[in-house]
Each structure stands twice: as structure tokens, then as C-alpha cells.
Amino acid sequence: MLLGVYGLLSASFFVAMDAVDVAFTEASVGAGISTILMLTTIAITGRSELASHYRPTLALILVLIIGGLLIYGTMDMPYFGFAEAPANLHVSPRYIHDSMQEIGVPNLVTAVLASYRGFDTFGEVVVIFTAGVGVVVLLGLPGRRDENDAEIELINTSMHEQHLVVRIVSKVLIPFILLFAFYVQFHGDFGPGGGFQAGVIFASAIILYALLFGLSTARRIINQPLVQLLSGVGVLVYGSVGLVSMLNGGNFLDYSVLSSDPIAGQHLGILLIELGVGCTVASVMVIIFFKFADRKEALHYKPRETK
């Protein structure tokens, strides 16, 4: 839980560092989803903990030595905020100066993310998708447990009866969160935001709903196979934009050929791949959460049987 604070703190740090987009992501990820996942795991595995700090002195010595070496290594690094640092010299000036003419998107981060380094981002999306598949494989339940659904629901309602105020306020808030996620998704060209952040916010809204109204209610609304399909569709959209631009005679993920006007093509391409990214991220997060929560409920209400 204090890890959640940590997420918040590092996000405010990123704000101070001018990294608006990064702060945005860290805000939605570090504070929300990662805390929730950690808690679910703790709920599954139990809070008991052995106080077995074995060989802490050895570890401490090792850590101190490595830390000392690293600090020694930083002596030659460029000073903080130094404009002529090597990291700021090679490709970045080009991104900063030319992207307005070449891509026409005010948010440089989006321009670099989606267009200049689109291939990287494609890789990242595939990694996220793969992680989602991995979680499904690891935590997929062996069989459906329809017979327990009614009972679980009963427990759920009794457990959530007490949160009446929270439920009503959330009912009002959730549409706004979803709307805001779409704003972030499509406003990513002009302000901080984009597919990654929007996906996480969208998933958070659904998770909030599932937490307050019970898993089975949420499962009735959010069709699991559909979500799993969507996570694949996102990757496919991204890849096929690249293929279409290849078919039109450009390079893979070179959006300038998508339209007669290169800048309009870039806009279209960025919009499409951000959509793909948002789709994948949102559905993978939802899938991961549902799998974890399923596991927890199965363990919670039917102990000794899953072993």
C-alpha cells in the first residue's frame, strides 16, 4: 500500500522533470493498477510472513559495494540539466525541430512514440499482449464454477451493501472516467495523453466497477471472450496499419503514404495506432485483473479445493 504512495510520489517527480506524458502514465499505472494487483496477490497468498532475514549483512555489504561503484561511475557523467549532454545531442534536436513540419503533432512525445519510433512501440504492445496471454495461461481456471455463482453473488451483495454511498457516487463517476479516458485517447496529439494512458484509465474504471458491484455483475456486462478478442485486435490494428503503409509503397509504419497529404497521413496513422495501443492495453489490464480476482474468489469461497 505504501507502494501506492511511492507511485504517486514518483509521478509528481516526473511532473517536476517536465515529463508530462510519463507523469500521466505513472499516475494511472503506479497509483492504480499496480497497487490493486499487489493487493489481490496478497489477498490470495495471505499476509503471513516469516521474519527470516537470512544473511542480511552479506546483502548489505554487496549493495554498498555496488552502490559505491555506481556513484564512482557517475563522477564523469554530465551535470543535471546540462543542455549539451550527449543524450540531448544526436537525434533529439531533429525530433524537436523538424517534427512540426514532418508530422504536425504538437505533442513531441506522441510524434516520437507513434511515428519516428513506431516500430519500438509495436514491440512494446506485443510484449503487453504476450504478458496478458501469459497471465491467462497461468491463472486460467480449470473449470467453470456455475453452481457457485449464485452463492458468490449473495456474499458479494451482503459485502457491498455497506458501501451504499460509495456505490452511488461511483455510479455517477464511472461514466466520467470513461469519457475522460476517451478524451485522453484522442487528445494525445495535442496534450499529454495517448493510447497507453487511456487504456489504463479505461481499465481502472472497469476495475472500480468490478470492485464495487461484484465480479459476477461485472462479468455479465463485460464479455470476457470479447475483451480477449479486443486485446488481439489492438495488436492487429497496429500491425495492419504498418502493412497498409507498406502496400501503399512506403516503409513499414511510414504513415506519410496513407493519405495524399503526408501530414494528414501521419495524423491518420497516429490516430489509428493509438487506437490499437489503447485497445490492447485496456483489454489486457482488464483481463489481468479479472484473472487475479477470479483466483481470489475461488480461493476465498472454496478453500482446500484448488490445491
Binding site: Q162, H163, V165, V166, V169, V172, L173, F176
Partner: protein, 114 residues
């Protein structure tokens, strides 16, 4: 007129800061959970409102003010709800205000509703 607006905004910010710090001190110094809850729950929303209004007066520009108003509305919704849920969960978990406080048992009053 301009100086008046900036004066009002400064006043809002300043009072917000004073309240924020007092609630922080309350959070640290009060003897038990419910009194701390009181210190935070009551002042938090007010602090947010004051500082956001102060900021709104700083820059009377369409979209910025709209966003600030949205943030303000959300805070007005969210803060009391979170405090309420927290207090309720604490009561239901059996955390009695008097219990387990070695500090002279000061927190014997009824749990504050926020």
C-alpha cells in the same frame, strides 16, 4: 480591479495553505484514528476548493478555468466519499475510538462524521 483579483486569489491561496498545514499537524498529533480522520476529512475538501479557486482567479482563461472547475467538482464528489468509506470500514472492522490508545485515552468522543 486587477490588483483586487490578485489580492483575493492570494488570500485564497494563503488561507488554503494555512488550513492544509493545520490539517497536516492534526494528522500527526491527534491521538486516535477518528480524530485524525476528522482533521483530514473536514479540511481536505476546503483546502482543495480554496487553492483551486485561488488558481482560477490567477489565470482567467477559458479552458484552464473549465479544467479547474472539473477538478474541483470531482474533488467535491470524491473526497467526502472516500472519507465516509474509510470511516465506515474502520467502524465495521471493530476499531473502537477509545481502544488501544496509550495516550491518556483522549479520543473518547463519538466518531466524527465527515
Amino acid at each position: 480591479m486587477d490588483t483586487f483579483i490578485s489580492l483575493v486569489s492570494g488570500l485564497c491561496l494563503l488561507s488554503g495553505c494555512v488550513l492544509a498545514i493545520s490539517s497536516g499537524i492534526g494528522l500527526l498529533r491527534f491521538p486516535d484514528f477518528y480524530t485524525r480522520m476528522h482533521a483530514v476529512g473536514v479540511s481536505d475538501t476546503l483546502v482543495t476548493a480554496l487553492i483551486l479557486i485561488g488558481l482560477m482567479l490567477q489565470l482567467p482563461d477559458g479552458i484552464v478555468v473549465t479544467k479547474l472547475v472539473i477538478i474541483l467538482l470531482m474533488t467535491l464528489f470524491i473526497n467526502p466519499t472516500a472519507s465516509h468509506a474509510l470511516a465506515k470500514a474502520a467502524i465495521q472492522s471493530g476499531l473502537v475510538p477509545i481502544l488501544n490508545k496509550e495516550d491518556e485515552g483522549k479520543g473518547e468522543d463519538t466518531p466524527s462524521k465527515t
